[in-house]
Symmetry: C2
Subunit: 136 residues, 2 copies
């Protein structure tokens, strides 16, 4: 599984917020609309908020909303934020966790190409694209 529920929920929430345009939507409402546990969703919204992907306002009439146009959010940026990484295998990671055989491994170049392909895929889609897709 390359993308866990965390990233998938985040995407659905972002598309949902895009549909609501400039309104502030409380967490409770998002959770119910998407069928996600409120408590679990909290941890996801915190990440989105801290990274500046959404505005958050306390108190009555508050909640979350996007702070840019849906076309300004790539799917890749949202997934990298919530998942940490989109690597299909651990082989391609750098630093201390790097594979000791990476210099001679005959499969490594393939993993690099796969990573590149997946990254291009997600960076080439925006929240706006998903919005439109649903309306067809």
């Amino acid at each position: 599984m390359i993308v866990s529920t965390k990233g998938r929920y985040a995407l659905r929430v972002m598309v949902g917020l895009a549909q609501r345009e400039d309104a502030y939507v409380p967490l409770k409402e998002i959770a119910e609309a998407e069928g996600i546990s409120q408590k679990y969703l909290e941890s996801i919204m915190t990440v989105l908020s801290k990274a500046g992907f959404v505005d958050a306002v306390h108190g009555k009439g508050g909640g979350y909303r996007l702070n840019r146009s849906p076309s300004q959010y790539t799917i890749g940026s949202i997934l990298k934020l919530t998942e940490g990484s989109l690597a299909a295998v651990s082989c391609t990671s750098q630093g201390p966790a790097a594979c000791s055989r990476s210099t001679c491994c005959q499969t490594k170049p393939m993993w690099d190409r796969l990573d590149k392909m997946i990254d291009d895929f997600f960076e080439g889609i925006t929240v706006e694209d998903l919005l439109k897709e649903g309306k067809q």
Copy 2:
């Protein structure tokens, strides 16, 4: 992580066996060459053997070898066998585990396209391709 060590080890073993051509290579030798635990590798070789991907011969002079030309093995076929599935997300699975929102989910079409892209990628590469890649 879309591909675990099981699948990655299996690929490396298949490429390794391809290099040895028609010789029977004992598990112990493969494990040492690839730096994989013998016992763990056993479970992988059993899968490859039962699926008819390799020939296995007992006793002295025995071991494992490929039973087709390296060009006859797609990477996709090996990974699907050892990993069970190459799905990037659980959303795209059919049957009882299917997502209840799949019919209305605005992200689902994207996951379907991703799965297709990944499948095409792996089905378009063979063990022979990886062999050549290492020699460049």
